[in-house]
Symmetry: C4
Subunit: 276 residues, 4 copies
């Protein structure tokens, strides 16, 4: 498999022309949230902002009080009905973070927009991923071993013991879906046509093992897709930057929002060729 | 056109005498907000505070929960009726940020105060700008190319391709109104009497292409007018400082509130002659 | 008049013995708040925390949503009735910040506790200050020139032109009340017995001329009284530290909460003899 | 008694293997909160996050608006009934912070989970501690002298004058419960079997004498138990790290959340052998 190197990842960084404006550099839709998890969609939104999204709209159940960044756009919903997201302008989406039992309805509402989408957390259910495959809508899935096992019908322990095998199995089960199997290290796989692509991340560390870091990653990958990267490139670069940010800031006791906040500096360091 | 230079801009910085107090250095009214955009008026208020306003009052629909700076004064409104802003004490205003469909009513309520006003975002509609012209109330408009096209009845692409032409057209259509056409670079124009004044900003960068940076700018320009600068000077200095702040902090992934928070240091650097 | 020097002020700093605990280093009651001014009591609480209070309780109308520090104790009230503050444990109080039309009732409720009290902002009314004089409860008043004029029945301009005279007049009108007349510089006066004491602050700068800095000061002085300093010492040291903090951090565009947050470092510098 | 040394404490630090994930490094339940004390459970949650918990769930009365970290999981409750905490997944708990009159019911609800638990603040009542003894559920109690006196039926002054004696008395009254008697210095005692273990902390300072620092400590100790440390080790290491954090950041005016935020750096310094 490909080992993600600073040089290769730096080459993927989307440029930003002199006439860039907030509408041209990528708009992201984040969809999630539930009474128990009011922070998860916020962390995803923060990840998207920090990864360079020009605009981030967060769709969430209206009864929640989300402590969103001042820079995000709110889209409170009475329900995740079919037309709930009509009128949202975005080039990519991330769905599932903190959605709990509402994840199914949320993912279906997002699917109707036919945007490249990151499926995370509670949206990582076989039937939802299959729906993306069936509809031919580009998707990235970001399971941890437990979620991967749920998708495969296996055991988390087996996934963690053989991550490359598990990533391969997921990629084969869900053709054209980019698989990001989180762990130490994170493994990526993707069945584009005939062959199977593999990549293994080289950044990240155990201090990142805490709640919310996965939500941030979902927002990062969505922002990179919104900026124009194909899903495979967005996933590889997103995972790499996320881990790089963790390596630069990471101490046990790190909070996930700090990981997001460290992204711009990590990205700038990568761009300047300071990462080895 | 005039290229904005550090020396010329430093000369415009309003002084602050030894007996200055919060009521003497400029009071700003910010008017905006809507269910989807609860951050926009907050960012404008923050911009005004950071640009040196002594007091910032934020008028907004009472049903919103605005996460205002502790230092702002709240003016929650049942509606944007004629007398809604009676009793507000300010020397300048900024209106439209995040106001959505309420922008029209908000701008009319602000106009009744006859204060020098920045019209931004949803308040950038031809009939509202014309009302300021007709009433002889000083105004600054801060459109991006899409909003400029709406004001001119043209296309955003054409505006972006020929920003000097578009700024000129706006300045001629709205005499005495200072035009700030945002872009890379931002162009300013103003038809004072017979002639037309032009300026081109020399600060700013594409990392600032993200949601909320325009809201901050509106607050900055309003604060400089409240401090006593004529609209043309406030607009030029405001645009310059805003871009300078972005150049000092700006990395892709910057959040707009960070741009505001970097203003005092940028201003101090300009004042000390450290900017070239 | 006495010019406040670093050496004299350092000598006033309350020590903190090895067995200090949160109940022994000073507990402060902050009373204020109103729909328009939800930040003012929060800033006063922050000032008290930052000046070393062990516990800070904030009493405020229950319908407000105050964004208090996590470390403050809430005391939401249905009304400022006589018994509203029964059970509050504190050694000093600050009242009036952001209280608007409720200041009168709030000040009377606080007076019933017979604690050394800072009267600020909307509580600066002649009848309220007189009540403290009459009851023999130690008080510090912190008017700006406009509030001083209201207390004296004169004009703000005259107060600002002759601050020493105005401070003297206030001290004579309200015997034993410590007068802090805010300005550039801030002047203090106090009629203890026969004679009149005067002091002039040597710290502070015009960048501090912005909303909320006075609220912070009220909390600082209350915390120093709660720590055991007599009102005259607490007022002089509080004004000095507040201005020192502003001199160390102060740039135009400073927000009042930053002034509070800079207090511990300013205090430590004063304690270490690093201030000249 | 044992004096806590950097070397001994560093040896207790739980490692974090390469395949660590948020579910494997320790999940903490925080239970508390009341109308007056909305910050206390938040500070405990922050302490747990900063001490390395992978997940932190906060159970609190549903009518409160807790300003939780984005990374925490919410568990709002209609009441502290028997089944209120069913389904919460955690390896350790902290209960009592800011619970006021609800502490009894909260502690009983937590006891039903049979997790190693820190009993703090309002949960420090003899009958509650006895219930843990009776049920054989591991417990750490963290009284200050006033709370210790309440547990012992004595006077706070006597406790503070003879902390070793008071700690011994508590340890004997509550066999197998780890006693953390907060003060200057903090003393720990524990009756494991026949003998009595004693320890005296060597970190911390009087600047930490302010509201909320104890809430942070409760969360820290719970997180270390959730990471797998036995209660005696978790209590010693937690107290040591908490004080070390205070020594590195502590100035009069420190806020408790800053103490929590400084924990990761303090822990890293201890791990690298930089603490003497």
């Amino acid at each position: 498999p490909e080992l993600l190197t600073p040089r290769a990842m730096a080459a993927l960084l989307p440029g930003r022309p002199g006439d860039a404006h907030k509408g041209s550099v990528g708009r992201v839709l984040v969809a999630g949230g539930h009474a128990a998890y009011t922070g998860a969609p916020v962390l995803a939104a923060l990840g998207a902002h920090r990864a360079g999204a020009g605009l981030v709209t967060v769709a969430y159940p209206a009864e929640l009080r989300l402590n969103l960044p001042l820079e995000s756009v709110r889209h409170p919903l009475e329900s995740w009905s079919a037309g709930a997201l009509a009128g949202v302008r975005a080039e990519a989406a991330a769905v599932g973070m903190g959605a709990g039992p509402l994840a199914h309805a949320a993912a279906e509402a997002v699917l109707a927009l036919r945007l490249p989408t990151v499926l995370d957390a509670d949206a990582l259910r076989p039937e939802l991923v299959q729906a993306y495959v069936r509809e031919g809508v580009p998707a990235v899935i970001t399971p941890h071993p437990g979620e991967a096992a749920r998708l495969l019908g296996g055991e988390a322990g087996a996934v963690a013991a053989e991550p490359l095998e598990a990533a391969r199995a997921l990629a084969e089960r869900f053709p054209k879906v980019v698989v990001v199997l989180k762990g130490g290290p994170t493994v990526l796989a993707w069945k584009a046509g005939e062959g199977l692509e593999f990549a293994v991340n080289t950044t990240g560390n155990p201090a990142m093992a805490s709640g919310g870091t996965g939500d941030v990653l979902a927002g990062v990958v969505a922002a990179l897709m919104a900026a124009g990267l194909p899903p495979w490139d967005a996933a590889r670069l997103g995972v790499y930057l996320h881990g790089l940010s963790g390596d630069r800031r990471g101490r046990v006791g790190l909070l996930a929002h700090e990981l997001a906040d460290a992204l711009p500096e990590a990205r700038a360091a990568l761009e300047r060729g300071e990462v080895r």
